[in-house]
Symmetry: C2
Subunit: 396 residues, 2 copies
C-alpha cells in the first residue's frame, strides 16, 4: 500500500488528534498565504478587473474540475457554488422536471436532515400532490417503486457510516424509471467514487469535510453530461445564464453544468478551497481507501479490546462502511466532550452516537493508538460528567 500520509501539508494544533475531518477538515498549510495574496494582489490591486485578470469568473468551473477528478466525473461536469443544501434543491427540482408524470421523492431516514428539509421545502412549495417519502436505509431498495420520480440518498450515512451501493441502487432506480440524486458529503475525498460508472443523473456534495476547504466552503453539483444541456435550473441566476453580460431580460440557460451557477461566486472562500484541492493532485483514491480501512480496522480492534462500554454502531464489514467509525453510548454527548477536552476530537450525533472520522492524509496508525488510550482512560474511569456538559454540541 502506497504511503499517502502528508501531515506536513496541514497546520495541525499541538496535542490534538483530529478525528473530525469528516465534519471540518483542518487548515492546509498553503492556504493562509495564498488567500492573503488573493486579497492583496487581486481584490486590492485589480479591484473589479479581478473577474477577468485573475479569472475569478472561471473559478467555479476550474475548482469544479478539481472536484470532478475526485469523484470519477469528467471535466466540465461539476460546478461549485452556494452550499450543499442549495445544490440539493437544484438537483431535486431539476430531477422532478425530468419526470413530470410522477410526484414522489424517495429518501431514507439516515440521510442528513438538511437534505430531507430541502426536499420537504420543495414539496411544500410545489404543492400539486408532491410528496417526500422516507424509509429506513435498509428498506430503500424495496421502496423504489414505479411512482418514484427522484431517489435522493447520501451514499455514506452521517451517523453510522453505513454505505449504500451507488451502482446497484442507481440501476434499480433507473429500472423503475426514477431519477437518481447522490449526496457525496461523506464520500468525496473519503473513498473512490465513480460518477460516470454509476450512471446517476445528479450528485451534490460539500467541500469543508474531507476536501479541507474551510468552514463554509462552497457546495458542488454534478450533472450527467448527456443531460446537462437539457435540465431546467429552478434557481435561474445570472451567472448560469448563457450570456450574463448581455443583461438580457429573459433567462437562457448556460452551456452544460454552467447553468447550475446562480449568483456571484464566493471568491475568497473558493480560493481557500482551490489551494486545498491541490493536495489531491497526486492522491490515488484506491490507496486512500486502503489506508482509511486499515486505520478504521485498527481503531475498532483496539476499542473493542480496551473499551467495553462502547457498542459499534457502524457496519462491521468495511466494504459497506465509509471513512468513519461510530459507537453508541447512552451518555455519548458528555463522554465525547470529555474526550475532546483531552485532545481527541471526534463528534457527537444525536441521540447517542460518538463519531470518529479517519483521514489518511494527516492521521496515522500511531494517532489511532494514542486516541484509543485517551478514549479508554475517559470511558473506563468514568471521567465524563453529564452535568458538566449541558450545552448541546454545535459542530457540523
Amino acid at each position: 500500500m502506497a504511503d499517502i500520509l502528508k501531515k506536513d501539508a496541514f497546520l495541525l494544533p499541538e496535542n490534538v488528534i483530529y478525528l473530525d475531518g469528516n465534519s471540518l477538515g483542518p487548515l492546509p498549510r498553503a492556504v493562509p498565504a495564498r488567500v492573503q495574496a488573493m486579497m492583496a494582489d487581486e481584490w486590492g490591486e485589480m479591484l473589479i478587473r479581478g473577474w477577468n485578470k485573475a479569472d475569478w469568473m472561471g473559478q467555479p468551473s476550474r475548482v469544479g474540475d478539481m472536484v470532478a477528478r475526485i469523484i470519477g466525473a469528467p471535466d466540465g461536469s461539476v460546478v461549485m457554488g452556494d452550499t450543499l443544501s442549495i445544490k440539493v434543491f437544484q438537483a431535486l427540482s431539476s430531477g422532478l422536471k425530468l419526470r413530470k408524470d410522477r410526484r414522489v421523492i424517495l429518501s431514507d431516514n439516515g440521510n442528513f436532515p438538511s437534505d430531507l428539509y430541502m426536499a420537504e421545502g420543495l414539496v411544500k412549495l410545489l404543492e400539486q400532490g408532491y410528496e417526500l417519502r422516507t424509509v429506513a436505509p435498509e428498506e430503500v431498495m424495496d421502496a423504489i417503486s414505479e411512482d418514484i420520480a427522484v431517489v435522493m440518498l447520501t451514499e455514506v450515512d452521517y451517523r453510522t457510516g453505513r454505505k449504500h451501493d451507488m451502482k446497484t441502487v442507481t440501476e434499480l432506480a433507473h429500472a423503475k424509471g426514477a431519477v437518481m440524486v447522490w449526496d457525496l458529503a461523506h464520500s468525496a475525498g473519503a473513498l473512490p467514487v465513480d460518477m460516470t460508472a454509476s450512471n446517476a443523473e445528479f450528485a451534490v456534495g460539500c467541500t469543508y469535510k474531507y476536501l479541507n476547504g474551510g468552514p463554509g466552503a462552497p457546495g458542488f453539483i454534478y450533472v450527467r453530461p448527456d443531460l446537462a444541456d437539457t435540465v431546467e435550473p429552478a434557481l435561474a441566476g445570472w451567472l448560469g445564464h448563457r450570456q450574463p453580460f448581455e443583461f438580457d431580460l429573459s433567462y437562457a440557460p448556460g452551456h452544460g453544468v454552467e447553468r447550475m451557477r446562480v449568483g456571484t461566486p464566493p471568491v475568497i472562500q473558493l480560493t481557500a478551497l482551490e489551494v486545498a484541492m491541490e493536495l489531491w493532485a497526486d492522491v490515488d483514491m484506491n490507496d486512500l481507501r486502503a489506508a482509511s480501512i486499515a486505520l478504521q480496522e485498527q481503531f475498532i480492534a483496539e476499542i473493542e479490546r480496551d473499551v467495553p462500554a462502547l457498542t459499534l454502531a457502524s457496519p462491521r464489514d468495511a466494504a459497506i462502511r465509509g471513512s468513519q467509525v461510530s459507537w453508541r453510548f447512552e451518555h455519548g454527548y458528555a463522554a465525547m466532550q470529555a474526550v475532546i477536552d483531552r485532545g481527541v476530537i471526534g463528534d457527537f450525533r444525536a441521540p447517542d452516537i460518538m463519531r470518529f472520522g479517519f483521514t489518511p492524509l494527516y492521521i496515522d496508525s500511531a494517532d489511532v493508538s494514542a486516541a484509543v488510550r485517551i478514549i479508554a482512560d475517559v470511558m473506563n474511569n468514568n471521567l465524563w460528567d453529564d452535568d458538566a456538559y449541558k450545552v448541546k454540541s454545535r459542530v457540523t
Copy 2:
C-alpha cells in the same frame, strides 16, 4: 456637512481613481490580517470547535445586525447567507405564499436581470399559472393592480441610477393587497434606507458593492419582524431549523429571520465582511448621502462642461438618483476600456451605458476632477478604439 472621508481605511492601488465601488468595493485595510487570523487561530487551532468558541454559528445574525443598522432595520431582522440571487428566491417564494390567491409577480425592466431570472425560474418551477410581469420603471405605479401577488423592485436602477420612491410604491402595493420585495443592491451603504418606515415585507441585497465585503461576499435578507415568525421558507435548510443539532427528520422553521438561513455559512467570506462592516459604525447615512450628491453634481457639471460626446443617462434630479452617474455613448464599451486603461475605473453596461459610482468613504472632490480630466482626454481626442476592445466586459 461632516467629513466622512476615510481613505486611509482602504488599500487603494496607486494611480487609480476607483469609480466602481458600486460594482466591487475596494479592500479595507484591516481585512487581510483579520482574515489571516481567523484562518490560523480559529480554523487552524480550534478546528471544528470554532463553531462555538469563535461563534461562527452566530456570525450570519451578528453581521446581519450590522447590515440592519445601515438599512434602518431593527436588530434581529436581517440574516446573511448565500448570494443575493438566492435571497431574491427566498423573498419571492415566501411572498407568494403570503398571497396564495394571486399568481403575478410584478417587476420592471430596469431591475437587475438576475432578479428577473430568479423570478422566471420560480414561476416556471411552480407552474399553476404563475406569471412574471415586467413593465418599464416609470409604468410600475400604474401596473400595480389587484391581481399582483408580489411587487419586486430594485430601489436604484443598476444602469441609470434612477431611484424608486420606496415608501410611495410600497404604500400603493399594500393598498392593492400585494406583498413588497425591495432589492437594495445599489442602496445599502449608498444612501439612507429606512426599512421600518417603508413597511415593506422583504428586502434583499448584496454586500460586495458599497459595503466592501469582497468578491462574492454573501447576500442578506430582511423580513418585517411581524411576519418573521410566520413566513414559510421554501429553501428549508438545516441552519434555518429551530433546533438544527437535534437532527430531527422533519423541518421546523427557526425563530424569526433565522429561518432564512439555509446551509453552512461561508465563515471566511463572512469574516472579511464583518471587518468591512466595522467601517460603518460611525457613518451617518445622511452625511454620506450629502457627500455623494455633492460628488455627483460636481461630476455632472464638469463632464457637461468638458465632454460634449456624453449624454446624461441618469436622472438630473439628485433626489431620484442613487449614488452613481451614467452616460450614454454609442461606443461606450471601447471608450470605458480606454478610460480604465488610463486609471479611471468605471464600468460599462449594455447596450451603451458608461457608469461611474460615487463612494464618499474613499472618493473626494479632487478625485472627481482628476477623473474628468482623463475622461475628457479620452473622449475629446478619440483615444478609444472599437477594434482594440473586442472582448465583452465581465465586471459584475
